[in-house]
């Protein structure tokens, strides 16, 4: 952090400024804090790492013939939303209210053309904030893809995520995180995107799974993960990247960041441990897929709460979140719908639990008001995300289906996405022609 020297008589004023966390240069604009900028650049990078991490996690769980197709869902989101966010996403999410507050808009944000030298009050260039947030916009639709796995057309998927990003993610992000978003103003706590990302993606996934229908042969035919080794490694990267996701959401490099990172680490570990113990008790065996599911359940549970709960709260949030997810998946198996990679069962359920459950573990001083008030706001936020995302997703799916087609033909589904959509094979080494 570079600060111009000021005279002794400024001392009091400066102390004040430190308290509000902003430092202004002589001309009144905030100055760069190199440390905060460094951490936010790092966080941006870490959240980007989550995309290949997710591709590995998901890619390992499908059948061999769909591995590339599934990974392409994550990768395509990097490209498509990567461009879309820069063109108009950031503006819709973080511009001032337009359309009665449905979304935001700031012509300066269009193609990021007006923020070339803007420094935010937190001491980081606005570009960094925009890129950090852009990674979140990429992750959300990439998560949904897990519910579509093994049976969706690539073109339909691409168009779906464009529309979903424009019509669901950007508005929701605006409501919860923009300073004039209506949920933000009500004091909803969503530290790193439980409501904005995981609940909305989970809800979209549930609707998508029901709309698309089950994969051919499900659940009669056993469908084995093609590469649990890769899934484990992917989960490891998700854990690593989540440090950027949660601790970066403090938009500082200080105490709040440390608190968020600590809560994240603890909840991930306790989620995994809790799932391990549950499986150990119920099956006398601990599966590695169960382990990583527990990691994810813990990470998602803590996401809305990361910076606002004490370590023991993170411990409980993670552990209980894993149990909820375990039984949510069991319930899915009973109900028989085909949420292929359990996007709702993990992301939806854990995020709802985290968003509401956090109220019980708030650090003294966190939250804005009474326990019941906060509980209501949290519940309201979760319901809004759930319902809004669900309904809009359904509409988008119907439209895309009608105009471009969504579901693979039976022949293509049997042949596998890799061959029928991409004319490639994931593991050439399995065959002798390579």
């Amino acid at each position: 952090m570079k600060k111009s020297k000021r005279a002794a008589i400024w001392a009091v004023f400066a102390t004040l400024m430190c308290l509000v966390g902003t430092v202004h240069a002589a001309d009144g604009s905030p100055e760069i804090d190199t440390g905060t900028t460094a951490w936010m650049l790092t966080s941006t990078t870490l959240v980007l790492l989550m995309v290949p991490g997710l591709a590995m996690f998901y890619g390992g769980l499908v059948r061999t013939k769909n591995v590339l197709g599934t990974m392409m869902h994550s990768f395509a989101a990097m490209a498509i939303i990567g461009v879309l966010w820069m063109v108009c996403g950031y503006s819709m999410a973080f511009g001032p209210n337009v359309l009665g507050g449905w979304c935001g808009w700031n012509p300066d944000y269009f193609m990021l053309k007006g923020i070339d030298t803007t420094i935010l009050d937190s001491g980081i260039p606005e570009y960094v904030f925009a890129m950090f947030q852009g990674k979140f916009a990429i992750i959300a639709p990439a998560l949904i893809a897990g519910a579509f796995a093994e049976r969706i057309k690539f073109r339909g998927y691409c168009i779906f995520i464009v529309l979903w990003s424009l019509l669901v993610y950007n508005p929701l992000c605006h409501w919860v995180w923009a300073s004039d978003g209506f949920l933000f103003k009500q004091g909803a706590i969503d530290f790193a995107g439980g409501t904005v990302i995981h609940i909305s993606a989970g809800s979209a996934a549930l609707v998508g799974a029901l709309y698309l229908g089950a994969r051919r042969g499900y659940p009669k035919t056993a469908m084995h993960p093609n590469n649990l080794v890769m899934t484990l490694v992917g989960a490891g990267f998700l854990w690593v990247g989540w440090f950027g996701f949660n601790a970066g959401s403090s938009v500082e490099s200080g105490l709040k960041t440390a608190q968020a990172l600590t809560a994240t680490q603890i909840a991930a570990a306790s989620g995994a441990l809790s799932w391990m113990i549950l499986e150990g008790l119920l099956h006398k065996k601990v599966s590695s897929l169960g382990f990583v599911s527990g990691v994810l359940a813990g990470l998602v549970s803590i996401t809305p709460a990361a910076g606002d709960v004490l370590p023991w709260g993170a411990l409980v949030l993670g552990a209980v979140g894993a149990v909820f997810c375990y039984y949510a998946i069991e319930l899915k198996n009973k109900l028989g719908y085909d949420d292929t990679l359990d996007v709702f069962g993990i992301h939806g359920v854990a995020a709802i639990w985290g968003a509401i459950g956090l109220v019980f573990f708030l650090r003294p001083g966190a939250g804005s008001g009474s326990f019941w008030g906060q509980l209501w706001v949290q519940t309201e936020g979760s319901i809004i995300s759930l319902v809004y995302s669900g309904v809009m997703t359904l509409i988008i799916l119907i439209v895309v289906d009608k105009f471009f087609g969504l579901r693979l033909s039976e022949a293509d589904e049997k042949a596998g996405m890799d061959h029928s959509l991409h004319s490639e094979r994931g593991y050439g080494m399995l065959n002798l022609n390579s």
């Binding site: 013939k65 042969g217 042949a415 061959h419 004319s423 094979r425 065959n431 022609n433």
Partner: protein
């Protein structure tokens, strides 16, 4: 006893399996192989359309008593074809003599063990 070896397309494995089970032929051994026949397929490599020399296939082996040979062959023929008339690459069935068959767990031999 005969050993029926069918080389089929990868995407037909499930269909063939299901049809065989429906025909009460449940015992089967499958292997990942690569083959070359009439069929041409294409892959894309950096924008270039490439014709592989060997195409991934699945080999299905079924040991059956003589009475079941026709059922097995007909079932496979019906299930392994792409479309009603079949397409090049749908595969081959080979039938070879089998002199003995032994179930390892019990030691049963011949038609019993199959």
């Amino acid at each position: 006893m005969k050993l029926i070896t069918a080389i089929i397309q990868e995407d037909k494995l499930d269909d063939v399996r299901e049809a065989l089970i429906a025909a009460e032929i449940g015992r089967i051994t499958v292997t990942r192989v690569d083959g070359h026949g009439q069929q041409q397929t294409t892959e894309i490599y950096r924008g270039l359309v490439v014709v592989p020399n060997l195409i991934p296939k699945v080999e299905v082996k079924i040991a059956v008593n003589d009475a079941f040979v026709d059922t097995a062959v007909d079932t496979i023929l019906a299930a392994a074809r792409h479309g009603a008339d079949g397409k090049p690459g749908d595969g081959k069935i080979f039938i070879a003599p089998l002199e003995e068959c032994i179930r390892i767990s019990t030691g049963e031999r011949g038609g019993e063990g199959i």
